[in-house]
């Protein structure tokens, strides 16, 4: 009788432990909630940022530091970019470039072609406030690695005959040379132009500056088929292109870093 009791106790404990193990490790595939409750807020934050519902934020909510670190370096950030590049390629494959050499794509540079995740790590993934001189020092090092999926997209576009124009808010005078070298040593070669921010555009918001440049390009005859950036300010304004694609960036809000926030108001 004691034996039977022992056996039953063992069974009960076994299933109890199994249940606790599953609960602890969350191993039941694809039928789990997308995340544990404490991550729910940070996921809502990230979604709201990417859908442009949160604007001009200065820092990432401190409680999301670990969430964001896991997101950025744990695989999902890469997965999100791969997914978007897949969408871009589906769209690209439906376009036949003409032979006049004026079919263009516009790509942003930072966190679009090359990555600043290593730098963000030292800034607690955006939990620390934006540090212009810190960022400049990082950019000066010329050590931004390529974002692999975006390098593949870049090469595909070039090989298909599109003119790829890299358009960045980086300052031409101080960061021009190092940016050219950084892009080159990461494999971004054969682009049509790299356009950096010159004296004339200093102090302008990203939307105004990038709109002005795109206007010039369209006036030169370029057809902007696509426009890819990690900031909504890359994709808003005038002459935005036939399709825009927003890459994820839950760490930095360029509308805060810009001196002048461009009003998107259309009727006020």
């Amino acid at each position: 009788m004691i034996k039977a009791m022992m056996k039953r106790t063992q069974e009960v404990l076994f299933f109890l432990i199994l249940a606790l193990f599953y609960k602890a490790t969350g191993m039941k595939p694809c039928s789990k909630p997308p995340q544990v409750d404490c991550d729910g807020f940070c996921l809502s934050w990230r979604l709201a940022v990417e859908a442009n519902n949160v604007r001009g934020w200065r820092t990432v909510p401190t409680q999301c530091l670990h969430y964001l670190e896991t997101y950025m370096i744990g695989g999902q950030y890469d997965r999100d970019i791969e997914f978007i590049v897949g969408e871009i390629m589906s769209y690209v494959n439906g376009i036949v470039p003409s032979d006049d050499g004026m079919d263009a794509w516009i790509l942003d540079v930072d966190d679009t072609c090359i990555s600043n995740v290593l730098y963000y790590k030292g800034k607690r993934y955006g939990c620390d406030p934006y540090d212009p001189s810190g960022f400049r020092a990082w950019a000066m090092s010329g050590k931004c690695p390529a974002i692999p999926a975006m390098l593949r997209l870049f090469s595909n576009l070039v090989n298909m005959g599109f003119k790829v124009i890299l358009l960045t808010g980086r300052d031409e005078e101080t960061l021009g040379q190092v940016t050219i070298e950084n892009l080159n040593n990461q494999g971004f070669v054969d682009y049509e132009r790299l356009i950096l921010r010159t004296e004339a555009y200093k102090g302008q918001g990203a939307v105004a500056y990038k709109s002005a440049i795109r206007k010039q390009l369209v006036e030169e005859g370029y057809r902007i088929w696509g426009n890819v950036g990690d900031q909504w300010s890359d994709l808003h304004g005038d002459y935005i292109g036939n399709r825009t694609f927003k890459l994820p960036n839950p760490i930095l809000a360029s509308d805060f870093t810009s001196k002048k926030v461009h009003a998107v108001n259309q009727n006020m």
Copy 2:
């Protein structure tokens, strides 16, 4: 034998403690991966939809059925809406409405004020293709429940003196009366106007139709402070308002359901 029993009990206790330890550490706030790997694709899909990177999709990827069900009814969808409504209220609290009665907000109706999640359940959360007559029958039932956070926002806006204009693509002739009643019995009262699609706008894409209506409102003198909808087509086009807010909807793409896809092209 008692010794063996003791030993077994010790072993069981050891694993029990281990499991509890994993559980304890796994629950360390916000340090778990955002989701298990197999959900990564569906999370990427959802993010890409909400950031308007995927357009005109007909059905949700079948492998995301369980993920989407969990998202929609497991808490995160509600959490995402609560978060956005929090952002809207932060913005609203910075506005002082004037006393001319022309400070307006525009809210979409379906999946913005009232919910169709119960209907989507029967359509496998978007894994089944869009079914216009099925949706009409559901809407005719007048049983769409209020989205609680949005009802709260609605009431706040009305109490603060804003004129809330409900703008929907629902057909006025067939769904006008039932929509008025559904909204009323869910607590959406004291709105300024409910604008449904009349004969004149039939066959137009949502962007064109809603832009035309907003243009009329602005010409009447309304100042559109905010514009809230679950579809990008609610928020694109002309006279979009001072701020737009995109509520989540990973199930339905209105740019597919519209007969004419409005070209967002600005330079082609």
